[in-house]
């Protein structure tokens, strides 16, 4: 379980930073999906009765795009939080090491106020545990969000496939336009899915979940 993971051994702070940087691209793709959904909506209006069969697909694309944007924003927030907290945690881990060293030094010589150093050492351990909990809490939340968006992107791939079939039945000009929207949706969702899955695998491995 994640609670037993050694963040130092896995150099989790480095992973967290690179995951946050890598997932920044997901936002761009999410925005592109939203843009394609709007394109599809405009096309449906222009095509009028001819594209009636396309309307439910477009509605679903818009809903999917909205959900994607929401998720992408939440992912961005959590990825940055994981990255920020895991780097901040280096400081609390360092405080633990320094406090341990001070306790050792205080044992060597009889210190008048050594109880305070011991108390500080305990305080650093508690602060460090709290920070590790913080990192794990955000990391687990990020994993949940990544899984959620990976599933959503599978739906997006399925919607793109249906849209392509529906587009084939339209007049040549609209068929090309709808097919282009479907292809872009498919492409963006595949990029997101690949990126999300690779980062998900790295996080799950590092956190042993």
């Amino acid at each position: 379980m994640a609670r037993t993971v050694d963040l130092d051994k896995s150099k989790f702070h480095l992973l967290a930073v690179s995951v946050a940087a890598d997932l920044a691209d997901v936002k761009k793709q999410g925005e592109a999906i939203s843009f394609e959904a709007m394109n599809a909506k405009v096309l449906v209006v222009r095509a009028g009765a001819m594209a009636l069969g396309f309307k439910p697909i477009t509605d679903f694309m818009v809903e999917l795009a909205d959900n994607t944007i929401d998720l992408v924003r939440a992912i961005e927030t959590e990825a940055l939080a994981v990255s920020h907290h895991s780097v901040s945690r280096l400081r609390t881990a360092n405080a633990v090491r320094m406090a341990d060293k001070a306790v050792l030094l205080s044992k060597k010589s009889k210190l008048q106020f050594d109880a305070e150093i011991k108390a500080f050492a305990q305080k650093t351990v508690i602060a460090d545990h709290r920070m590790v909990e913080n990192v794990l809490e955000h990391a687990l939340k990020l994993i949940r969000l990544l899984k959620e968006i990976a599933e959503l992107m599978m739906s997006a791939n399925a919607v793109a496939a249906s849209a392509r079939v529906e587009a084939a039945a339209l007049e040549a000009h609209y068929a090309r336009s709808f097919a282009s929207v479907s292809d872009k949706l498919d492409e963006c969702s595949t990029i997101v899915r690949d990126k999300v899955n690779s980062n998900l695998a790295l996080l799950e491995k590092a956190l042993n979940v």
Binding site: R91, T92, N94, A95, M98, A99, K101, A102, L105, S106, S109, L111, Q112, F113, D114, E116, I117, F120, K123, T124, A127
Partner: protein, 244 residues
Amino acid sequence: MKATILYESGDHKWIIFGRDPEKKDKIVDTNQHMVIAGDEAILLDPGGIELFAPMLAAVAHHVPISKIKTLFASHQDPDIISSLGLWDQVLEGATLYAPWLWEGFIRHFGCDSIEYAAIPDEGMEIRLGGRKLHFVPAHYLHASGNFSVYDPAAKILMSGDVGAALLPDDAPMFVEDFDNHVQYMKGFHQRWMPSNTAKQAWINRVRQLDVEMMSPQHGAVFRGADITRFLDWLEALDVGTAVQ
């Protein structure tokens, strides 16, 4: 970490910490100072992150950590104050006095719970356990925002990098032979101090103070007549000249 008492009178005490035998070779040796007055203590230039543990242990010899409510940083260098992020986790309700110029920089070391009190360019006076401490401008010596600390009751001037010397290991804590000591100061002052004008302004300021002991952040402590000798020597030295 060796501790030497520089001054003690009633509840007023100056202690210098330095010559840490466990210090890594390539880390420059530094002097940290603690002033205790009444029920309060201040750490002057508490040192780098590498020295935090021995400093904490050394300080706890003399005073409960909870009595340290004030820190002072003469400037922003890492050997002066990079331990701030750790003190930030030890001290409760503490204040750091440091040049206003460096606030945005010093905060990079970590300053969440400690309050940053910005010292204006003209300097200021604080009270510690009823005693006065003056933050005396020492700008460009060597940092562009820089202060010395003067205690009029103890007649001690903590001069920061002014008077600093890069001494061999186990050198005595006090200057014993001024002429011999010059070799360890000359290059430092010529290279680190960039301005003869700023140097002269500081000398003029210090000559007006009643100083019996001048304690720099590196090297050895000057006493009595050696202080005037040092000021005369520095006045004659052309600084900012080590690299042409």
